[in-house]
C-alpha cells in the first residue's frame, strides 16, 4: 500500500519515504564532506578538494525530482551532486583517494567524478565548462522526446563566464529541456559574489536570456524542491529551459587548506548555527510531525557507519596499476 503524502507541496507531494530519503541524502553528503575535511589533514588524499558542506539542500532538492534517465553536469564542488544523483559513496571515496577501484579508476579524482549509469555526466574542473555540455545533453533529451531533462549546476563564479552566456542563449534558441541551477554561495574562489556578479542578480541575468528564473532559499530543502518542481515540469513538457538561483553558503573554504582570509571572523561558525539545511530540515519535519526524531537519529547512525566503511575501504584499497597510465586515452587508436 502506498504511503499517503504528508507534505503537500505545490507540484510533487512528498511521501514519508521521500522525506526520509531526502534527509538521508543530505546527511550522507554532509558526513562525506565533514569526514573528508578531517581525512585530508592526514595527507593520505592527493590533490585538492572543494567541499560542499552547507549546500546539501540544493543538490538533494534538485536531484530528488530526477531519475537516472535525466542528466546532470556538475562543478569542481561536485561531491554533493554526485551523491544526490545516486553515485556509489564508497566508489566516490575510493576515487578521491586515487584508488584503482574508484568510480573512475582513480584517474579522475575529486573534480572529475562521473557515473553514466546514474545520468551523472561528470564534475568539472573548469568553472563554466559544464553548462555547454548540459545543453548538448538537453538536445539528446529533446530529440528522444521522452520528457527527460538535463541540469547544469553552477555557482555564482561560473555565472560570470562567457561560455555560460553562450550556453543559456543556445538553450533558449533551441528550446531544449535544460535547467540552470545556480548555487550562489556568496564566493567565487576568494572573491565575494557581491563584487564579481555585477548586477548582483543571477536570476535576473537568466531572465535576460529569455528563460524564467526563480530565486529560492537554498538552505530550505522544501523551497528548493518546490521551485525545482515547477521548473522541471515545464521543461519536461517541452516548454524550454529555466533557471533557479539558490541563495546558500559554504561552510568550508574554496578548497581545503584555504585560510579564508576573505571571510569575517566567525562567519562560518555563525552560518553553521543559523543556515544549516540539515538542522532546518530536522526542525521543520519534527515540528510538523511528519517524521520522528528517532527516525532521523537512526539515519544519522547508518550514514556515519557508511562513511566509516567508505574511508576504511578506500584506505585499504590499492592505487591503479602503472599500465592504467596508458589506458583509455582513446576508444581505439
Amino acid at each position: 500500500m502506498a504511503t499517503p503524502p504528508i507534505h503537500p507541496t505545490t507540484l510533487a507531494p512528498l511521501t514519508h519515504e521521500q522525506l526520509l530519503r531526502a534527509y538521508r541524502q543530505m546527511k550522507t553528503i554532509r558526513e562525506f564532506e565533514e569526514r573528508l575535511h578531517v581525512e585530508i589533514q592526514t595527507g593520505e588524499i592527493p590533490g585538492f578538494t572543494h567541499l560542499y558542506s552547507g549546500q546539501e539542500a540544493v543538490a538533494v532538492g534538485v536531484c530528488e525530482l530526477l531519475s537516472d534517465a535525466d542528466y546532470i553536469v556538475s562543478t569542481h564542488r561536485g561531491h554533493g551532486h554526485c551523491i544526490a544523483k545516486g553515485c556509489d559513496v564508497v566508489g566516490m571515496m575510493k576515487e578521491i583517494y586515487g584508488r584503482h577501484d574508484g568510480l573512475c579508476k582513480g584517474k579522475g579524482g575529486s573534480m572529475h567524478i562521473a557515473d553514466f549509469d546514474k545520468g551523472m555526466l561528470g564534475a568539472n574542473g573548469i568553472v563554466g565548462g559544464g553548462q555547454p555540455l548540459a545543453v548538448g545533453a538537453a538536445i539528446a533529451c529533446r530529440n528522444r522526446g521522452d520528457g527527460t531533462v538535463s541540469i547544469a549546476f553552477g555557482g555564482d563564479g561560473s555565472s560570470n563566464q562567457g561560455t555560460v552566456f553562450e550556453a543559456m542563449n543556445l538553450a533558449v534558441v533551441l528550446k531544449v529541456p535544460a535547467l540552470f541551477v545556480w548555487e550562489n554561495n556568496g564566493y567565487g574562489e576568494h572573491t565575494g559574489a557581491d563584487y564579481s556578479v555585477g548586477s548582483r542578480d543571477i536570476a535576473g541575468r537568466c531572465r535576460g536570456f529569455g528563460m524564467p528564473a526563480e530565486v529560492c532559499d537554498g538552505s530550505d530543502f522544501f523551497a528548493v524542491f518546490e521551485t525545482m518542481g515547477r521548473m522541471v515540469s515545464r521543461a519536461r513538457a517541452g516548454e524550454g529551459p529555466a533557471a533557479i538561483e539558490a541563495r546558500i553558503t559554504r561552510f568550508f573554504g574554496h578548497f581545503e587548506g584555504d585560510p579564508q582570509l576573505y571571510r569575517a571572523k566567525d562567519e562560518t561558525k555563525r552560518l553553521r548555527e543559523s543556515l544549516d539545511c540539515l538542522k532546518i530540515f530536522r526542525a521543520r519535519v519534527t515540528a510538523e510531525g511528519w517524521l520522528e526524531a528517532g527516525e532521523l537519529d537512526a539515519i544519522d547512525s547508518e550514514v556515519l557507519a557508511l562513511i566509516d566503511r567508505a574511508v576504511a575501504e578506500a584506505r585499504a584499497s590499492l592505487p591503479p596499476a602503472e599500465a592504467e597510465l596508458y589506458a583509455d586515452v582513446y576508444a581505439e587508436y
Partner: protein, 336 residues
C-alpha cells in the same frame, strides 16, 4: 567512377551516414542558414562552403541545427550530446575559431574518456575549414592542426583529396573518439574519383601518393598537390620521390615514413603550419630519433614562416609554401 569535388565528397559522407545512423546530428553556424531570415528560405546556406547542403530538408531541424555564433556552446553541446548518446558533427566555420572554443575541445571532449576511467566514449566530430590562399587574413586562414595534434585524446584528420575525405569522414562518424576533421578551403573544389557508396579509410595509415627512390617527401592537405607539382618538375632531371600523405596526424603513421627514409636517406617535410612546434618539426624529430642512421642529409622543412597569415595577395603568396619552394628543398636535400 563518378568525379566529385572534396566538398561534395564530404557532403556525400554526411548524407550516407545520417541516413544510416539516426544518432548523428549536425550543428554549427549556418549549417543550413536562413533561420529567422525574412526570405522564408530555410536552407539559405547549407554551410558557408556548402558542405552541409541538403541535410536540413532531408533530416529536419532536430538533427541539422543552426546555432548562434557561439563556438564554445557549439563544441560543448557536441560534447554533452556525445555523452548522452548522440553522434554530433559540429562545424567550426573557420579553424581559427578554435580560439573561442578551445576549453571545450582540449579540456572537455579530449579528456572525458580518460578522466572518467574509460566509462564513456565521446564520439564527436568537429569539422574545421582551414588554410590560407584566399586572402582571408590573419584570423581566417590558419591551419591550427599542429597545436591540436599535441593533445592526447583527440584524433586529427587532414585530407588532401576528395576520395580520402569521404572515406576518412565515414571512419570518423563510425568511430568512438573525438575527431578534429580539418578541411582545407582551397581543396573544396578539387575534384577526383569518388564512389557513390560508403567506404572507410582507417586512421593512422598514410597514403603513398608517388613512389620514387631519391627523396622522401611528406606533405599534408593542400601541400600534397603542391608537392606533386614539384616532384613532376624534377622528373626531367631524373630525381624521383616517395610522396607520403599521412592523412591523419593523430594517430600518425610513423612506420611508413621511416621505411621510406630507410630507402631514400633524404627527407623533405612540407607543412602549411607555422614552423615552431609544428607537424613538420614533429616528423623531423621523429625521424631524427628513430631513423637517424638512414639519413644521408639534413632534413629540409618547408613551412610557412613564423608570422601571422598576411592579407595582401603578394604577401600571402610568399607565406604559403609553393611548389617552387618545395622543388628547391628537394634539390637542396639532394646536394649532400
Amino acid at each position: 567512377m563518378p568525379i566529385k569535388s572534396m566538398r561534395d565528397a564530404i557532403n556525400d559522407a554526411l548524407h550516407l551516414e545520417m541516413a544510416r545512423d539516426p544518432s548523428i546530428i549536425v550543428l554549427g553556424e549556418d549549417v543550413s542558414g536562413g533561420a529567422g531570415g525574412t526570405s522564408g528560405e530555410r536552407e539559405a546556406s547549407g554551410g558557408i562552403f556548402g558542405v552541409t547542403k541538403g541535410l536540413l530538408p532531408r533530416f529536419g531541424d532536430h538533427r541539422v541545427i543552426d546555432t548562434p555564433i557561439s563556438e564554445s556552446a557549439i563544441i560543448g553541446a557536441a560534447g554533452g550530446a556525445a555523452l548522452a548518446g548522440l553522434r554530433p558533427v559540429a562545424e567550426l566555420m573557420f579553424a581559427d575559431f578554435v580560439g573561442v572554443s578551445l576549453d571545450q575541445i582540449f579540456n572537455q571532449l579530449a579528456k572525458f574518456r580518460y578522466m572518467f576511467g574509460g566509462k564513456t566514449n565521446c564520439p564527436a566530430v568537429i569539422r574545421l575549414a582551414m588554410g590560407a590562399g584566399m586572402n582571408m587574413g590573419a584570423q581566417h586562414s590558419q591551419t591550427m592542426y599542429s597545436m591540436l595534434t599535441s593533445v592526447p585524446g583527440l584524433k586529427v584528420v587532414i585530407p588532401s583529396n576528395a576520395y580520402d575525405a569521404k572515406g576518412l569522414m565515414i571512419t570518423a562518424l563510425r568511430g568512438n573518439d573525438p575527431v578534429l576533421f580539418f578541411e582545407h578551403k582551397a581543396l573544396y573544389p578539387r575534384k577526383g574519383e569518388v564512389p557513390d557508396g560508403a567506404y572507410t579509410i582507417p586512421f593512422g595509415e598514410a597514403s603513398l601518393v608517388r613512389e620514387g627512390e631519391h627523396v622522401t617527401v611528406v606533405a599534408l592537405a593542400r601541400m600534397v598537390p603542391f608537392a606533386e607539382k614539384a616532384i613532376d618538375a624534377l622528373a626531367k632531371d631524373g630525381i624521383t620521390c616517395d610522396l607520403i600523405d599521412p592523412r591523419t596526424t593523430s594517430p600518425m603513421d610513423e612506420d611508413t615514413i621511416l621505411e621510406s627514409v630507410e630507402n631514400t636517406g633524404r627527407l623533405v617535410v612540407v607543412d602549411e603550419s607555422n614552423p615552431r612546434c609544428s607537424v613538420a618539426s614533429d616528423i623531423a624529430g621523429m625521424v631524427a630519433a628513430r631513423g637517424f642512421h638512414s639519413l644521408k642529409a639534413p632534413v629540409q622543412l618547408v613551412t610557412a614562416p613564423h608570422t601571422p597569415v598576411p592579407f595582401a595577395r603578394e604577401l600571402e603568396r610568399a607565406y604559403v609554401p609553393s611548389p617552387t619552394r618545395i622543388e628547391a628543398a628537394i634539390r637542396a636535400v639532394m646536394k649532400d
